[in-house]
Amino acid sequence: MDNINKITRNEKLLEINNLTIQYETDSGTVHAVENLNLNLGYGETLGFVGETGAGKTTTALGILRLLPAAVGEIKSGQIMFEGEDLLKKSEAEMRAVRGAKIAMIFQDPMTSLNPVMTVDQQIAEMIKLHKKVSDSEASKLAGDMLELVGIRRERMHDYPHQFSGGMKQRVVIAIALACDPMMLIADEPTTALDVTIQAQVLELMKKLKDTFDTSMILITHDLGIVADICDKVAIMYAGRVVEYAGKRELFTSPTHPYTIGLFNSVPDIDDDIERLNVIPGLMPDPMDLPTGCTFHPRCVHAIPECAERKPETVETSPGHFVACSVLAAKKLEMGGDER
């Protein structure tokens, strides 16, 4: 996906160009993210979709430069946020960004909160880091945030273990939004919750997103959530974005074979089938990625070129980008002009 950042409208809140992240382990190098390109406009919500292990969380941690220090390394690329490259900032400058400009919500609410601090202390900590307020003022603001996420103010001095999973996640959201960040990265915020609670938390997130006018990257593997809350969607596979489009466009004309496979694998309650549709094969080992297009071993449309070269990005319709060598080849055949 090389040209999406140049072609679509400028003034992006976030532009990631050719990001490559690797992990060094005893058994080898894990190529978690390879030449990733992504962008997010002001006020947009981007759905970042992919299976477990595709590299979504790694990308998110990379944006905030929170990769585990000993093993994770950003090898190359640019992360432009509000016009500045985050990768060139010092640690002190990044600390000013974290929480204040970009906030993150992690996947498991059960372990994301410090068990020995009260919830208001944890929210207040966020506030005091980025705003010059007194302790009592911070405490009051913390209470305000709690009410905003639907938790009674009287519970501010309770400890995390006294809350249910869904409420813990609300606290996590309260912390993240306490300083009104420009961008929120939510890493599978509802995956660890019961289905009924999932809906509630999503509703809350939608409401808050509008109230605070926050741009959001929502990492998920659930297409239903994408349909509900996102404006744009990026499909990630084995460390790369393979398709990017507006929500409506993606759902009506999924183009990349992987995306089509994903949609096909969601069973339809009205269908009378014996077996679920699956994409044959498994996601590749990130230490031993296929050459060329990482999806080619599982792709029914693969041509010999797919194993040789990294797929080019093709804009199949305005704002809809697909990384596929087969498509690129077809476009060449048709004269190579953009529709």
Binding site: L64, L66, A70, M94, R95, A96, V97, R98, G99, A100, A103, M104, F106, D108, T111, S112, L113, N114, P115, V116, M117, E125, M126, L129, H130, Y159, H161, Q162, V172, I175
Partner: protein
């Protein structure tokens, strides 16, 4: 909270009775006739039989045990020393303060040295510092306390003449024995602190703290440390027990007038009531210390505190 403390104290009682039972059983089945031991070889057969009647030594096992408990609780009488003929309780009470002082200093040293070393080791994992500390800790764990004590005497008393090798009254006399005793403990505390820190430092909530833009030093000191030290508190309680038993050997080497030295003497002279009395006393102190640690734990860990509010 009070209920929790009271319950724990209540649980302590059967445990102590159990320990007394073990001690008494061991004493009961040790070869040798207590009457003969106390009255001496010159005693007549009649005197021995009278003594046995008077002390209830001909009664069945459980009756004797019942008497033992009764006497212990009401009169503080846990037998008489075969050697000195004086009540065991008196000897122990006289000797205990020295043992407690020794163990207390040892645990203090362990905490003051062990915790910072463990923290630094964890923060600088895989560095030279970490490797050196871990190897030193291993060596400390592996050194028998009686050998270390002797080595220290050779080096600091005999060759350098800096510190005395016996007694416990002056501050300088306390240094060598406390250090020798503490060696193993320092190592355990260091290792435990390190592994606890490592576990905590990789926890999700630490990542959350960083994602707020918090300074790394605050993340470590405020978020990680408190959580990491909680299990170390429990360890220190258990270590105290080790120290109490280690004190036995240490006192022997440094001629410190504590319970341990009395017990070692008693072993040599086959003065079993004294030996078992010492065991009982130390076990009781150990149990009380563990109780205190449990209660402390409830105060510092809000997850436990909430359970018993």
């Amino acid at each position: 909270m009070i209920r929790y403390i009271l319950r724990r104290i209540l649980f302590l009682i059967p445990v102590i009775v159990g320990v007394a039972f073990c001690v008494f059983t061991l004493l009961y089945f040790t070869p040798g006739d207590p009457a003969r031991m106390i009255l001496g070889d010159m005693a007549t057969e009649e005197a021995i039989q009278n003594f046995r009647e008077a002390e209830g030594l001909n009664s069945p096992f459980f009756v004797q045990f019942g008497n033992y408990i009764y006497r212990a609780v009401t009169k503080g009488d846990i037998g008489r020393s075969y050697m000195t003929k004086r009540p065991v309780m008196n000897e122990i009470m006289q000797a205990f303060p020295a043992t407690l002082k020794l163990s207390f200093f040892a645990i203090l040293i362990s905490i003051v040295i062990g915790i910072p070393c463990g923290i630094l080791s964890a923060i600088k994992q895989y560095s030279i510092f970490d490797t050196v500390i871990m190897i030193l800790a291993m060596v400390g764990l592996s050194m028998p306390v009686f050998w270390l004590g002797l080595l220290m005497i050779i080096l600091f008393s005999v060759h350098l003449g800096w510190l005395p090798s016996s007694g416990f009254d002056t501050f300088s006399a306390m240094i060598l024995p406390s250090l020798a005793l503490a060696a193993q403990s320092i190592s355990m505390v260091t290792r435990m602190t390190r592994s606890s820190m490592l576990e905590v430092v990789n926890a999700d909530y630490i990542r959350t703290a960083r994602s707020k833009g918090q300074k790394e030093s605050v993340v470590i000191l405020r978020h990680a440390l408190y959580n990491a030290l909680i299990p170390v508190v429990t360890l220190c309680g258990l270590q105290f027990g080790q120290l109490l038993s280690g004190a036995i050997l240490t006192e022997s080497i440094f001629a410190i007038p504590g319970v341990g030295r009395i017990m070692v003497e008693a072993i040599k002279t086959r003065d079993f009531p004294m030996v078992q009395g010492g065991v009982l006393a130390i076990a009781i102190v150990f149990s009380v210390v563990n109780l205190a640690v449990d209660v402390l734990y409830a105060f510092i860990d809000p997850r436990i505190k909430a359970q018993y509010k």
